[in-house]
């Protein structure tokens, strides 16, 4: 079963400003923690894909305008408190395993080494058509 684990971070000013107030040791511990998760997932053969996104300040919303020409506006919507910072796609045996990985990622340390408890949205990835019998 494939799951996408979407990490949501506080929106702030739309930049990486949560990390800019941390000390060197805190930044390094946070990066190391996430690197360790990735290394473990790779070793276990569970990692399908992982991507990080540029901060939301650089996001644009596109809708088809008149005649199908793209109409580009700044996004995402200002009222959203959190934004998608990046994701993992993992191939695991059970949903519980996906929740366990998400739980570990959510506990990535922040200031003072305390877990950040970031929201990680877990969604199953829909698959290709079933095999004809």
């Amino acid at each position: 079963m494939k799951f996408i684990l979407m990490m949501h971070a506080p929106r702030g000013t739309g930049d990486w400003d949560i990390m800019t107030k941390w000390s060197q040791g805190e930044v390094e511990a946070h990066i190391q923690y996430l690197n360790d998760i990735n290394a473990d997932l790779r070793k276990a053969g569970e990692l399908v894909n992982i991507e990080g996104l540029m901060p939301p300040k650089h996001a644009r919303i596109v809708r088809a305008g008149k005649g199908g020409a793209p109409d580009v506006t700044d996004g995402p919507f200002a009222e959203s408190k959190e934004f998608l910072a990046g994701w993992w796609i993992v191939d695991v045996a059970t949903p519980e395993r996906a929740y366990a990985i998400a739980g570990r990622a959510s506990a990535a340390p922040g200031p003072g080494g305390k877990p950040l408890n970031m929201a990680i949205e877990v969604r199953e990835v829909m698959s290709a058509p079933p095999v004809e019998v």
Binding site: D15, W16, M19, Q24, V27, I31, Q32, G52
Partner: protein, 414 residues
């Protein structure tokens, strides 16, 4: 197939393509045929052993595919008796070895000119070069560029269509055109190298292969045109830069800047070769941009410790390079060298015009360098704010992490 077999196929690929394309005058179809022959070899050779004359074997198979292809084309066009190419299947290796070698060299160069055709976009030219001259499979190229195989196959197929439509015959370009085309070839090889060298994320192993492949191809071009200074300069630049690859990233792919690298991990052999190459070339006259960049890389590589770097010489070389090219990255590096020689205020002054240059204004590198100059000047607050701005603008994760750590280090120091 083992690595010897793979290398053999890669070396033979352009030679075989040269023979077939010349014989039939159709580059696009010949390229398809040669790919099929390479695939057949990769299947059959491990089982039955490598044939006595692998090159002739590949040419023979590719020509047979070519004939099949022509025959079905013809059948489609008019349902008449096939008269094409029945005899074209037979192929004999040339008798005069000297003559054959010369033809082979011309073919490889000609293939490079074809693949770096002005009608193609750079990404298409890169993909086609790697396949036709580098002998890589579409799958390998797709993996290296982290795109699905179908996407890469489309890109290559469109590239071949563009060449076909352009109607350029399969023959050596002459005079001025040749110079221009060689520039394009060198640029494509340079981009392939950078693609492999500059990225430390993703499946890094496969990416590093691109740098190795670019060096292999640059070596081939240098063998064909040993007296061309820029070809030698590009090869030297690649060797001298690639020599630092192992020291450039930490265990998790984090960036380690030049002045913090463990120089014991630099590849001495590559440095020796690169330095010898560029020293010989620089003494021979007309100096181009690749040679200057190689000379700068050589000065860095020859310093036993970061503190021993001969910055005045690097500054002088960037001064020459700046006069030769209108590239904002050169101005940026010139400013860095100037700051190392004359202090951060001089560097900041040289950066000013870049704010008005749309090619680099707002680019994270500009912020990162400013941060560095303010740090040198002891202004932690300005330095931190520039590092943060750079971290927010880079799209590379290792680079972002590096900049965030630099900024947080200054916070600790306060």
């Amino acid at each position: 197939m083992d690595s010897t077999g793979t290398h053999l196929l890669r070396d033979l690929a352009p030679q075989v393509l040269g023979v077939v394309a010349r014989r039939f005058g159709d580059f696009a179809a010949a390229e398809d045929a040669v790919q099929e022959a390479l695939a057949a070899a990769a299947m059959q050779w491990p089982e039955r052993g490598v044939p006595d004359n692998p090159r002739a074997w590949l040419v023979q198979v590719a020509m047979r595919r070519m004939t099949d292809h022509l025959r079905s084309e013809l059948a489609r066009r008019r349902r008449e008796t096939v008269l094409v190419a029945e005899e074209a299947v037979e192929y004999e290796e040339p008798r005069e070895p000297g003559e054959a070698a010369e033809q082979e060299q011309d073919d490889t160069l000609l293939l490079l000119f074809m693949c770096c055709h002005p009608a193609l976009t750079r990404p298409s030219a890169i993909a086609l070069t790697l396949r036709a001259v580098g002998g890589l499979t579409t799958e390998q190229i797709a993996n290296a560029f982290l795109v699905p195989e179908a996407t890469m196959a489309q890109r290559i197929s469109r590239a071949k269509q563009s060449i076909k439509k352009s109607g350029v015959p399969f023959r050596m370009p002459t005079g001025e055109e040749r110079e221009e085309r060689l520039d394009a070839v060198l640029h494509v090889l340079y981009l392939v190298f950078n693609e492999g060298y500059a990225t430390s994320t993703g499946s890094s192993l496969q990416r590093a292969d691109l740098a190795t492949e670019a060096i292999r191809l640059a070596r081939a071009v240098h063998r064909l045109l040993p007296d061309d200074g820029e070809v030698a300069g590009l090869l030297a630049l690649m060797l001298l830069t690639d020599a630092r690859r192992l020291a450039r990233t930490g265990p998790n792919g984090e960036l380690i800047p030049l002045d913090e690298q463990d120089r014991a991990r630099w590849d001495r052999e590559a440095i020796t070769e690169g330095v010898a190459l560029i020293s010989k070339t620089l003494s021979q006259g007309a100096i181009g941009a690749y040679q200057l960049q190689a000379a700068i890389a050589a000065v860095h590589d020859e310093a036993a410790r970061a503190a021993d770097t001969d910055w005045p010489q690097i500054l002088a070389l960037y001064g020459l390079l700046k006069r030769m090219t209108d590239n904002p990255m050169v101005t940026l590096n010139h400013a860095i060298a100037s700051a190392m020689v004359h202090g951060p205020a001089a560097g900041l002054e040289l950066l000013k015009p870049l704010d008005a240059d749309p090619r680099i204004a707002g680019h994270y590198r500009l912020d990162a360098v400013r941060g560095h100059f303010f740090e040198m000047a002891g202004d932690a607050e300005m330095a931190r704010s520039h590092y943060h701005a750079a971290a927010n603008r880079t799209s590379s994760i290792p680079e972002r992490n590096y900049l965030l750590i630099k900024a947080s280090r200054l916070r600790n120091a306060e």
